[in-house]
């Protein structure tokens, strides 16, 4: 028996909140105005000399009292994202339509609320215990995010948190589509949230991957990443009459190294091929690619080569990390949201902060923004542990293969 083919699903609502803006309108204005959300690092007691993509105001925005058991920076950011772009209202309507038990939650993160555990270790009691206000087991475990989102929205279907590092919130689309294909849900809330914490700032610093200046994806002089934080969500539904399309997903592994991409981008190529096959699209039909483009030496080199060798010169490709920073486990959903904006607006962002593109880059990779219609877009996400995911999106009016 053959595989059950992927069935395109509608994205009936989406929301995004990052350093590049609270909501879709602000994000779009930032992209069009080429205003970077990156600021000099002021996070934590002894900030490293780098730039970060910080969402302002979270410190003064505790969760509403009924959710206080989940209160921490990461879940505050999740709540901020849910309250953006009318997303909660869309979920409530879907809940009324389908029933709470028919809406699944699949959300991605790399570090979830580890920031709360870090804080507990900084404030241990004299006998080495967590301070009383942080003795809440749910915020010291990865599913903190999925559990909070499900509980806050009163949903009762399957709920899981995906943690495959920087591909986490791209892979949620693949898992959600399977839940819909198997009729285990009528709608799936997907998303991703990662917030600033010392683990990632000092962790990436230990790998010498942190840039002391604003990150410059694909620039010949690029010096590494800027860590960002973000929340993004999307609602996927099997039967709906509006919304852009999730047309395909391609997943693969590098089988190479824990923290370095495969030198020939083998896994990345496989993910692209799998995404196009499941979406029944040809390479030449892709109008826009939102690249992973982290601005590390290695990622950008490998990714530029893959794009240059695989795609026609007419494909427009860019990295938007110069606006948002690398939001790690939230990068997949943030960049899916930017790709959805590109489909809606007929606008494609270029690559910010990069002055002189690496010679590895083909004509696909662009610095300047452009106004041009986008019918089909891909978003690339590659993570530590060689985990790759590419998702294929189609404009609302894109003809869907029968």
């Amino acid at each position: 028996m053959d595989e059950l083919p992927l069935q395109p699903v509608r994205i009936t609502a989406f929301a995004v909140c990052s350093a590049a803006g609270d909501g879709r309108a602000e994000t779009l204005a930032c992209l069009r105005g080429r205003r970077s959300g990156l600021t000099f690092n002021d996070f934590g007691p002894a900030p490293l000399p780098t730039w970060i993509g910080r969402v302002s105001g979270l410190e003064a925005q505790p969760l509403p009292a009924q959710f206080s058991q989940w209160d921490c920076r990461n879940n505050r950011l999740a709540w901020r994202g849910l309250n953006t772009d009318g997303f909660i209202e869309a979920v409530v309507k879907a809940r009324d339509r389908h029933g709470a038990h028919r809406i699944a939650v699949v959300v991605g993160t790399s570090t979830s609320s580890i920031g709360a555990s870090e804080e507990a270790y900084r404030r241990l009691t004299p006998d080495g215990q967590y301070p009383e206000d942080l003795r809440r087991p749910i915020i010291h475990t990865p599913h903190s995010l999925g559990d909070f989102v499900q509980s806050a929205l009163g949903l009762s279907g399957v709920s899981m948190t995906v943690a495959t590092a920087c591909s986490s919130s791209a892979k949620v689309f693949a898992q959600a589509e399977r839940l819909l294909r198997m009729s285990l849900a009528d709608a799936v809330l997907v998303g991703g949230v990662d917030s600033l914490c010392d683990s990632v700032l000092y962790g990436f610093n230990s790998l010498e991957l942190i840039s002391p200046e604003r990150c410059r994806p694909f620039d010949r002089e690029r010096r590494g990443i800027n860590i960002g934080e973000a929340a993004g969500f999307a609602l996927l539904e099997r039967e709906a009459d509006h919304g852009a399309w999730l047309l395909g997903c391609g997943e693969s592994s590098d089988a190479h190294h824990m923290s370095t991409p495969h030198p020939e981008g083998l896994g990345a190529r496989l993910a692209v091929e799998n995404a196009l096959r499941s979406a029944r699209l040809d390479l030449c039909e892709i109008d826009y690619i939102n690249l992973h483009g982290t601005a590390t030496r290695k990622n950008d080199e490998v990714e530029a080569r893959v794009v240059g060798e695989m795609f026609p010169t007419t494909t427009f490709a860019s990295s938007t990390k110069g606006w948002t920073g690398h939001t790690l486990g939230a990068a997949g959903i943030v960049e899916a949201a930017i790709s959805l904006l590109a489909l809606e607006e007929g606008f494609v962002p270029g690559t910010l902060n990069s002055e002189s593109l690496d010679e590895m880059c083909g004509p696909q990779i662009q610095r300047e923004n452009a106004e041009r219609p986008v019918k089909y877009a891909l978003s690339f996400s590659f993570g530590f542990g060689g985990s790759n995911c590419v998702i294929a999106l189609g404009r609302q009016d894109a003809k869907v293969a029968a």
Binding site: M1, D2, E3, L4, L6, A46, A100, H101, S110, I114, S117, E118, A120, Y121, L124, G128, Q129, Y130, R135, P137, I138, H140, T141, P142, H143, G146, D147, Q150, S156, G157, V158, S159, M160, A163, T164, A165, R178, R181, M182, S183, L184, D198, S199, Y202, G203, F204, S206, L207, E251, S252, S253, A255, H256, H257, S259, L270, G383, F384, G385, S387
Partner: protein, 294 residues
């Protein structure tokens, strides 16, 4: 009910915990064919990696690779071709303890190796590197529902993509100040190969169904064996109800909680197997895993 049923087959099963260092031992203890071993084994020894690498990997990775390898061997499938679902409630809490303690004192001294091993998908990453697999994997957590969520995800992938899927679940004892935040007191790893179809002797059919109801209405199956007592104190211990059913040849039904208000009902088919593709390869000579047909 709109929700569909998912028929799949378990083709290989493996388990490791300090007092039950293989599925064969666990199965005998469940069936009261042998007493629980008195001595705990400190650490699984996986033969997947070269000895130098093996010593350096964290215990979570060691246990995950060990059970993954044994399950693949018992299934007879090509391990380099299987998509994989890794599930861990808390991830590597000893590394979280190290990271948080170091960040609180000397953040600039964080070890880069510990950092890249701290990602939740570290075990999955090492697995794909170790077996040279380009097949996709995921790494999930769902708090007390982690095992059930992972099993469901594996069955969905197996059916949707028409391929056998490797399912690996593991958790480790928490250490340091965060220990009271976790319910894990020892290491446990469970793995199985979940296939959409099977002609393998001894493969057991599972039919998974989501119950849109409170687990209070659909009673969750309690564990009953002496073996289950030996893994109590691990977030994945509730999965033992399914392992107890698989240890016996008769048909059975098991229900695992899937969320506060939903459950995963599993019909476990009768064991029709005669041969059981016994796998006796083990670098210790004690870790004998057996296809679940007996």
């Amino acid at each position: 009910m709109k929700s569909s049923t998912l028929p799949v087959y378990v083709e290989g099963l493996a388990l490791w915990s300090p007092r039950l260092p293989s599925w064969e031992i666990a199965r005998r203890v469940i069936r009261a064919e042998q007493a629980a071993p008195d001595v705990a084994v400190a650490r699984p020894s996986t033969s997947l990696l070269p000895p130098t690498e093996r010593r350096r990997i964290p215990d979570t990775v060691a246990v995950a690779l060990e059970v993954a390898l044994r399950a693949c061997e018992a299934s007879g499938r090509d391990k380099s071709k299987l998509p994989a679902v890794f599930a861990s409630t808390h991830g590597d809490t000893p590394i979280s303890d190290y990271m948080c303690a170091t960040l609180a004192s000397t953040p600039a001294l964080i070890s880069p190796t510990k950092f890249h091993n701290s990602v939740h998908n570290a075990a999955a990453g090492y697995w794909t590197i170790g077996v040279h697999s380009y097949a996709p994997y995921t790494s999930i957590s769902a708090y007390q529902y982690t095992f059930a969520a992972g099993l469901l995800e594996s069955a969905m992938q197996a059916i949707c993509e028409r391929t056998p899927v490797l399912f690996v679940a593991y958790d480790i004892e928490a250490t340091g100040p965060l220990a009271p935040m976790s319910d894990c007191r020892h290491l446990l790893g469970i793995a199985m190969v979940i296939a959409p179809d099977s002609t393998k002797a001894g493969a057991r059919k599972l039919v998974l169904r989501m119950h849109d109801a409170s687990p209070l209405e659909v009673p969750v199956t309690a564990t009953r064996s002496a073996a289950a007592e030996l893994v109590r104190g691990n977030s994945l211990a509730n999965a033992f109800a399914l392992l107890e059913a698989l240890a016996e040849p008769r048909a059975n039904a098991v229900t695992l909680a899937l969320s506060q208000r939903s459950a995963l009902a599993i019909d476990v088919g009768i064991d029709l197997g005669i041969d059981a593709s016994i796998d006796r390869s083990s670098d210790q000579g004690t870790d004998v895993d057996i296809g679940i047909g007996g």
